[in-house]
Structures are given as structure tokens and as C-alpha cells.
Symmetry: C2
Subunit: 352 residues, 2 copies
């Protein structure tokens, strides 16, 4: 798959800074909100950017690695939750609705046959990945098919007027592929990358770490991000990697989420660094090495609420802050509009 | 002024924990959202709490201490901003509207005559405080009058169906009284409590610190919180202290804000510790020792966005997270409702 991602234009940098500085507030006093507004203005190359038809793409898949006891949760929960989301239940449905976002539920590889009228978009490549302790999780062709599916979903959203997209996931066991992707792409030891997932105890975490380390030893040294993704990734993760790259190509704003989605972003930026220009880091998750992944990409999380649910919930919860930043840029009064003494000479500029 | 604040009931503690644990998610995986929902359930003593007619009370006043050069901002900005807020402009108007909150703009002591039709609630005790480097900022009677005004405003909101209230402020120079209140109530050295406010440079911060330390030396040792508030506080701060205590008495949810509002909360909790049971700490401000004040009260901020604007903006920005937490408690599907395998035995409970 080929993606062409433009770096952000610098044409409006000064005009955006000036507009933000002229709002009725001490210089820089809206902190991260100012940085978010500035980034979105640059992405849209517009002093009055608009976020339109926001969507959360929630992608589900199952994981062969579950055979190694890496999750305390039965794998049937994956398909059960997919029905729950499709019926407007569960965390992501609730928080997306709360934030005014549309939810698109996608089956990338769940080990279950969903009926045609389930409301779940069928992008199934196969019923779950293979057990990557023993063989690659996907073939390169399967991995590329999943990426193409993700790109296609995002293209359709874009054609229907969406310019901001969050990604969420459902897949019992998927902190395992995410931990391996983190370890290999960030070059960090496996222990740093492994956490309790949906609730492993200490012994469970040690076992998970042992299984994942052994898997990495079995496959030998891989450096190409596509090969790493195919060997250790999940079908939902590959679908999301394709979706993110297409979203950046289409100059959409991307809202990153927790541990799994961030592992997809790691892969995406290893393929095309520029994807990060289009990304806002919604939150700092409590799972495993999420904070380290975010730091690796120089991300600045919007929220830090000890979340570790996934599904895109962090992105949906952060979205009102993102829209508030755009509101500020577009609609907050300036010193001149409000006839207020301009105090911008008294302060220190923070957006540099 | 006398306030009677009940500690929270424990009657529903177990039922609230159980209800939260039965939601379709790994145990504890919604982190701080679960703690917010639990607190609000306890405040309202209800498994299905409702937040009704949310309001931000923005209180303005001027400060005699400005004569000592403690702010880089001309004092006319106080009344200019009050008109701006009343005309639905400025940061707090924008973010309150964005969060679905009503704004009430209150003059507690601005050095300006607002016309009767300005839309600003007249609670003026006097035109600004006295210069507390030389004499007490307020008499005890003035301070109590301001507190009574704040209590009255909150009582009226409550009578009109509001059960959640945020406080904001406007007052050039008001980080100075806030820093002194912090220093005296937390027992921390003045240098720890002083920041750049609306944009002082390093020399300005040193001067501010010197002025405030000298003021504290001039007035001798004070321990009674009312006396401390009258001697060093602001009229907006005293009004807000009264508003917070009345809100807690009426079992309303209180949303704390940045440096100034948190200094009011410090005073309020020194008078009645129980006010903290009713308070959510909206955010961690970048100003001065805000983080230390929050830690002193064992607060857990919802947002950390480098904000230092005040006005109640942090509270308005955090409010969508608070409503999301209540939505979760009331409307997120349970394992049983969604026919999902109950995984609560696999995880570790985090609300203890």
C-alpha cells in the first residue's frame, strides 16, 4: 500500500499565533488549548478551522496468542462486545454519543460469524490471527489487506464529510501484540512494555512477558515495520494503521487513544513519520508502557484519567477539549473586539 | 456566618461500587471517571444522580495591593473584562457555553460603576480592597458581607434547580491575595506560593514576593481563617468562600478552578473541612503553587492543560468529563444487560 502524506504547511503559522495571542487573556494562558488550536489550524491551513462529522472507528479482532494464557478474559468477550457496541452499548458508544461523535464498528478478524444485519462493517480478513509464538500472526498479504480495509473505511468517512477521526479497538489479548510492537519499534525491553491488560495478576504478567520474549526470539531480527506488523500485530491493529495513514493523507485530524491504538500509531509513523503531524494524543493510559510510547513520539496527552479501557474511549472523552480549542480560535473575543487594553506586550509568548 | 455542612452519607457506598463494577469493562478501567461517579453518587445519595442546570459564578473585584506593582496588567482590565463576560465574550463565556453551563457575572468589589442594565449582578461591598501592605484588605464586617452575598447567590441558583456550581473570578492583582492565603493556610514559604500571574518577569515576581512577605510581617501572626481572609483576601475571594460553603450546605457539587478559586477553597475548608467532600478539582493550573494547594487538600485534578487563565475556565473545560462520568454510572450497559461474560472476578477492584 502506498500513502502520500504531506508535511503541514507553514503558511499560516504567524497568522495563527497572532490570532491566538489577540484573544482576551494573558499570553499563553490557555496552554495546551492554544497548541491544539494551532495544530488544527495548520492541518486545515485555515485560520478558522472546522471539525466536521467526527467519527470513532472501533475495530475488533481476535488473537491466536491467547492460546498462551496471556489474557485473563475469555475470547468470547470480543464478539460479545462487538454486538454490544453495534447495539449502542458499552463504553465507547456512550462516550462517543456524549461527545457528539458517530461510531463505526468494524470486524477486522473476530472469531465469530456476525449476521449481515448486525450493523457491524464486515472487513474480516480471517477469524483471528495465528499464534505468533509459533508462526507469523498474519501473512504480508493478509496484513496489507487489513491496512487497505482501514484506508477504505476512512476514505468513505471522508467522502461523507468527516474530517476528524478517532480509532478504537476491541480484541481480547490485544495488549500482547501491542507490547511486542512497542518493544520492537521503540527498542525497549519487553518488561517495560508489558502490563496487566484487562486484569492479569503479577504471575500472569510474568508469563505474558515470557511468552512475548520467546516469540520475538523465535522470529529473529525484523526491521521493516510492515514485516513487524504482520508477524506480531493484530488484524484490528493493521486495519487501524491503514486507516491512520489514509486519514493523514486526506489531511484529517487523527485522535489517538490508549495502548493498542498507540501501538498502531507507532507502526504508522515508522512507515510515514508525517502521520504524527495530524495526530492529537487524547490521553495517557494506565496500561503498560503507554506513557513511554507517547513520549517516544513526543506526544502531549490531553487527558490523564487513569483510563485503561481502550475502545477509543479516551479519544471520545478528550474530544470536548479539542472542540473547545477550536471554539477558542474561532469565537473567543479579541482585545479589539472587546475594547480591552491589549496586554500582549506584558507577557511571554509560549507558542514558539 | 454560620454554615452546617453534612459529611457524605455512606449508605450507598457498596451499591455504587457494585453498579460501577458491573459495567461492561475491566474492573477499575475507567479510573478517575469511576471515582468522580462514585463521589457524585454519594453527594446526591443516589445510584442515578443527575447534574442539573450547571452554573459558573464569575465574581470580579479590584485589589488595593496593585498599588505596589504586583501585576503587569492595568487594573482597568478588571471592569473591561466584566463587561466582556456580561456580553457573552471572553474565555469563560465561551467555554461555559461549550459545556452547557450558565454564566452568572457578579461584581463583588470592582472599582467601576456598572449601569443597572449591564447584566452584572451587583454585590459590590466596596470599590476594591484596601492595600494590605499597609492595612487590612477588608474589615471583618466587609468580609462577612461578601461571604453572605456569595451564599445568597448560590441559594438563588439552588432554588432555580441548579445542583452543580463552578466558581470563576476576574480581578487584576488577585494572585497576590491568593498567594498569601496559600502561604498562611498551608504553612508554606511565600516563594513557593508566588508565580508570574498574568505575565510578570523574574524581577517582577521577586518584587511581588517581597511585598507579600512584608505585608505578612506587618500584620503579625493570624490563625483564624476569617481574620486571614479579611486581612489579605479579595472581595471576590470572600464572596466565593461564602458561595462554596453554602453550596456544600445545600449538597451541591462544587467544581474548583485555578489558583484564585483554589485559595478560596483553602479558606473554606479551613472553616469547614467537609466542603471538600462536595468538591471536584477541575484542573491543575500552571500558576504558582497551584499544584501544591491541590495536593494539600488531597485533590485529584481532572485536567492538566497548562492553563493559567482563571475565570472558571478550567472548571468549564473539565465539566464534560464530569458529565461523562455520571453518564457512565447511569447509562453504560452492565454485563448482564449486554449478555457479556462477567469478568469482574478476574480483576482488581480500584475503588476502595
Amino acid at each position: 500500500m502506498k500513502f502520500t502524506i504531506q508535511p503541514l504547511s507553514n503558511a499560516l503559522n504567524d497568522a495563527l499565533k497572532y490570532k491566538i495571542d489577540q484573544k482576551t487573556k494573558p499570553l499563553g494562558s490557555l496552554g495546551q488549548l492554544e497548541r491544539i488550536a494551532y495544530q488544527i489550524g495548520r492541518i486545515q491551513n485555515n485560520l478558522t478551522p472546522r471539525l466536521e462529522n467526527p467519527a470513532v472507528v472501533v475495530v475488533g479482532a481476535d488473537h491466536g496468542i491467547c492460546a498462551e494464557g496471556v489474557s485473563p478474559c475469555p475470547t468470547e468477550v470480543t464478539w460479545q462486545q462487538m454486538y454490544n457496541f453495534a447495539a449502542d452499548g458499552g463504553g465507547i458508544s456512550l462516550f462517543a454519543k456524549h461527545a457528539g461523535m458517530k461510531t463505526v464498528v468494524v470486524d477486522a478478524g473476530v472469531d465469530h460469524d456476525f449476521p449481515a444485519d448486525s450493523g457491524i462493517v464486515d472487513c474480516k480478513v480471517r477469524k483471528g490471527t495465528r499464534n505468533f509464538l509459533k508462526e507469523p500472526a498474519m501473512t504480508l498479504a493478509e496484513c496489507e489487506k487489513a491496512m487497505a480495509n482501514g484506508a477504505e473505511i476512512v476514505t468513505q468517512l471522508h467522502e461523507n464529510g468527516t474530517n476528524v477521526v478517532a480509532f478504537g479497538e476491541m480484541g481480547i489479548g490485544n495488549t500482547s501484540p501491542a507490547s511486542v510492537l512497542m518493544s520492537l519499534i521503540c527498542g525497549m525491553p519487553m518488561e517495560t512494555c508489558v502490563g496487566p491488560g484487562s486484569g492479569l495478576d503479577d504471575e500472569g504478567v510474568r508469563n505474558k512477558c515470557r511468552v512475548l520474549s520467546e516469540a520475538v526470539a523465535n522470529h529473529g531480527k525484523l526491521e521493516n515495520p510492515l514485516e513487524i506488523l504482520a508477524t506480531y500485530g493484530g488484524l484490528e491493529i493493521a486495519t487501524i494503521v491503514g486507516g491512520m495513514l489514509k486519514a493523514a493523507e486526506l489531511k484529517m485530524l487523527i485522535l489517538n487513544d490508549g495502548f493498542i491504538i498507540t501501538s498502531a500509531l507507532l507502526v504508522a509513523q515508522a512507515m510515514h513519520k508525517e502521520v504524527l503531524d495530524y495526530t492529537i494524543f487524547s490521553h495517557k493510559s494506565k496500561e503498560g508502557g503507554h506513557t513511554l510510547m507517547v513520549e517516544y513520539m513526543n506526544g502531549e496527552p490531553v487527558l490523564d484519567l487513569d483510563l485503561r479501557l481502550g475502545e477509543g474511549t479516551g479519544a471520545a472523552l478528550a474530544y470536548p477539549v479539542v472542540t473547545a480549542a477550536v471554539e477558542m480560535l474561532n469565537n473567543m473575543t479579541s482585545f479589539e473586539e472587546a475594547s480591552i487594553t491589549d496586554t500582549t506586550d506584558n507577557g511571554i509568548r509560549v507558542i514558539e
